[in-house]
Symmetry: C2
Subunit: 188 residues, 2 copies
Amino acid sequence: MGRWEPNARGRLERAALELYREHGFEQTTVAQIAERAGLTKRTFFRHFVDKRDVLFSGAESLSETVVRTVREAPDSYSPLAAVAAGLEVAVALLQDRREDAHDRRAVVGANAELRERELVKMGMLAAAVAEALRGRGVGERAASLAADTGITAFRVAFECWGREPETQELGPLFCDVLKELKAVAAEG
Amino acid sequence: MGRWEPNARGRLERAALELYREHGFEQTTVAQIAERAGLTKRTFFRHFVDKRDVLFSGAESLSETVVRTVREAPDSYSPLAAVAAGLEVAVALLQDRREDAHDRRAVVGANAELRERELVKMGMLAAAVAEALRGRGVGERAASLAADTGITAFRVAFECWGREPETQELGPLFCDVLKELKAVAAEG
DNA sequence: GCAGCCGATGACACCAAGTGTCATCGCATA
DNA sequence: TATGCGATGACACTTGGTGTCATCGGCTGC
């Protein structure tokens, strides 16, 4: 794999995921990833801001998709309903690629630094969704609360989905969890 | 400040907070912190697992306090009510030391890595609270949801508090935000 | 009061993440 | 064919973080 093979970024992503699975995240060095991809450490850091970033490449586009859906939800939707509609799109995308999603989830779940980064990505998604809600005229606080609440349900559903490999579909699971969240809030 | 002055850990915390405020988190090296505290870099890393950890020293004790309160809440309390009771104790502690809290908040807010770590600490608090709820007989999912929901309200209230320096007290603010969250969930 | 143990610190070498800088390569286009 | 440009390599450098052994000073038992 020479210097000018195409798709350097994709090769780095693939190599990183493989090595993280084979030897663990901490035991893998960036130099090893670059070597397997036929590139150098320096080039790795031109494509990804850090060693963790290579696993979160799809986060931006996912976030954009969710945000667009929230923005375009019918005016009649409540804030939380709009958030739920956006997250259902994300859920569908994850369900489509559930093998990749599970692989990636296993790697991320096995390491504290990666879980940390995932939290950050969820936080960024929440902030973007809240901003989209404000664009719909939702108040400052209510926007943050609806976004965070919806994403809490998403995260809990995602965790359940990961624990029980193939027994459930993510979509219905998310609906269930959201209902349960509303019940918890109501009785509180 | 010689080798055997007392309270090495406290000196490191103080030096770090000062330097992070003076020059920013990234511009400060661990060697500088250690020097100001009259110690060495190696000793810094014996007291704190990494450069960020030095700002989150109180998190464990705060978490323990919250968890204890949740565990000891009256049986009649709903899950979310128990969580709220626990967080109100945290709120009271922060309100007591609000100058320190604001200083620290400014430093953390100014840096992405520190915000990241704060998210993690909130996540750990949520997990601990959820575990306490399960000890009260709350179901798996409902425990996670109630814990995350309560902490969402806490985080939003904390952010509002930080934005408007002295105009509001954190306690009432937290109650307001929690009410608003319930309303958002109910109409969703 | 002294010997010896032990926890806290220093000294030092080392690894790996991440960055700045300049050279080099190959492609596209005039 | 010349030339500009974006992507990559080469290489030195800083800094976070760790392993290891020496050293210091207090404490305990005698």
